[in-house]
Symmetry: C2
């Protein structure tokens, strides 16, 4: 029997610090019917990303904030169940910015068909989705990583970090990951082939970087900000590239962001620090996805997903990112 109700998480209030239960409202509406050129998708997986915390804040950023009362923005993927759009026929699978809800209408803008014969659906939200694109272009384009470089990545056991490290290894770099906890560090070295991993919860990151990167860091890919960014800046090689992809340690800061006190290392080392937003590479997603799909197929690249089940668990599942509880790509499975 086809359900008739669409459940949705809507933003109820702008969070101060970590999002609380009361910052969300769980709404229900009738499942809509697709209009001309539209299709209806039954969402199976919702991507949970640190960037979502930024979308909940007011103010100018690289995308407009989610409005109060609006369905929370999210990448998600599922099955087309009704369609007036020839590109997205019933029974096909698609991924796009469909939001945190069980069903979504789309006119196809920003959505893409995915082939679950080539890779499982979750992979299209991780290595073959925005996560993978972010890692690929951040490392190779903004970071200009090349064979022989020493690459350090923070949030190394997270969705983007695991891909950054693996791609850097494939490209012939020496790779050091920074992650929280012995299990994650063991996973990075033993399962993903990182050259070394630093457990920031139990090691002095600055000393450990000095030990693991005696010639300095050529590319530092930052997902976390804060003290770890400062520790990396203190160990830059000449002409280093610092990729600012995210700053998860700062997203819930109530007192305001802490800037990198060691930024003058950029001067001493003639280094650059550059921000990136993956959307800028949209015209080149195809080339990256093709290369990554080949690496997945021949086993050189692993896609690791951390899947939480149950639509109603969204608010708590999202917090796992900020508690550092996920290894690999965090997804919510909702049907």
């Amino acid at each position: 029997m086809k359900p008739s109700v669409n459940r949705q998480f809507r933003l109820a209030a702008r969070p101060v610090g970590l999002p609380k239960t009361s910052d969300w409202s769980l709404a229900e509406e009738a499942i809509p019917e697709p209009g001309d050129g539209e299709f209806l998708i039954r969402i199976e997986y919702v991507s949970l990303d640190p960037a979502m915390r930024g979308w909940m804040n007011e103010g100018k950023s690289y995308v407009p904030p989610v409005g109060i009362g609006e369905v929370m923005r999210a990448y998600s993927a599922g099955e087309v169940v009704a369609s007036n759009n020839d590109r997205f026929p019933v029974g096909s699978r698609a991924a796009g910015v469909f939001g945190v809800q069980q069903y979504a209408l789309s006119d196809g803008k920003g959505a893409r068909l995915v082939d679950t014969a080539l890779a499982p659906l979750p992979t299209y939200l991780s290595v073959l989705g925005m996560t993978g694109m972010t890692a690929y272009f951040g490392l190779l384009d903004v970071g200009a990583a090349k064979q022989g470089d020493t690459v350090v990545v923070s949030g190394a056991a997270g969705a983007v970090g695991t891909v950054v490290g693996q791609v850097a290894k494939i490209k012939g770099c020496r790779v050091v990951g920074i992650a929280g906890g012995a299990d994650k560090c063991r996973y990075l070295v033993e399962e993903l082939g990182f050259d070394a991993a630093i457990d920031y919860k139990h090691e002095d990151v600055r000393l450990a970087l000095r030990q693991h990167c005696p010639k300095g860091i050529d590319v530092y890919f930052d997902n976390v900000g804060g003290e770890i960014l400062d520790a990396a800046l203190a160990q830059l090689a000449m002409h280093a590239r610092v990729v600012i992809c995210g700053a998860i340690s700062q997203y819930n800061a109530i007192e305001g962001v802490t800037g990198p006190a060691n930024y003058l290392s950029l001067l001493v080392n003639r280094a650059r620090m550059q921000g990136m937003v993956v959307f800028d590479y949209a015209s080149r997603y195809g080339e990256a996805a093709q290369e990554m799909a080949n690496w997945l197929a021949d086993g050189r690249l692993k896609s690791r997903e951390h899947i939480v089940e149950g639509f109603e668990n969204f608010p708590d599942a999202l917090l796992k990112l900020f508690r550092g509880e996920n290894t690999g790509k965090l997804l919510l499975k909702i049907s």
Copy 2:
């Protein structure tokens, strides 16, 4: 009668905060005789630069620190008075890293002949010296400033800032300077042709930047760090370039450097922040000096020097930089 004593300022102690009188010792030694391949220069002008404060600190930087008991490092210029070096004959003028002293021996390494028929001696320590080279390559190479860009420079009335702004105008940019006090601001706009100037001592820099740069800042050339760097980061245009040339507000900070809290603007705006050290451009000084000399000759570029007289006034003269008392290039005239 030729004097027989060489007076020198030597570093007596590593300063904590602003250099104190007791951090210096005024030494005297016999004027040395040049050995094989050497020449003796009688120094006429000593360049006073914010970077000198960094050279007084212990620890790794882009040049080794001045040792305790050593003559303070400085660019200076004067007349060759004795010579066993054919390239630097008696009576010629030269500039180089000769230190804070009345006489210096040199084997010619890092020194260059200057032609006082083409430009007065002080100009070779300002627009035609490291100051000018720093402005030229920082703006055009690191900052990649091009016609139509909005360029903002801090420390705008200082040695490097006055050149940055003028070169940016020559290259067809819109130029906004940030300086301390109404007199400096008036000078920038009325004498040097800046489009606008912001008096950071009496204006809200962030609001003023929003007003003067409504489309955002394409190139921000930073000489100061601190709150002004943060204000500029808040107003970056997409794909902006932030040139980190110096951080005079931080050089005497006892509590440690304050990092730019707004650094995530680099992410939002896909902008880059890059450090520079002028020495890296040594092979291209000639081309820059030629172009700058032409601009000086046809009056499009002005070299402004702020000259303090008297060798013994060195310790206090240096502090003028940190008190913001100089307009243009600060020089000590010592003979």
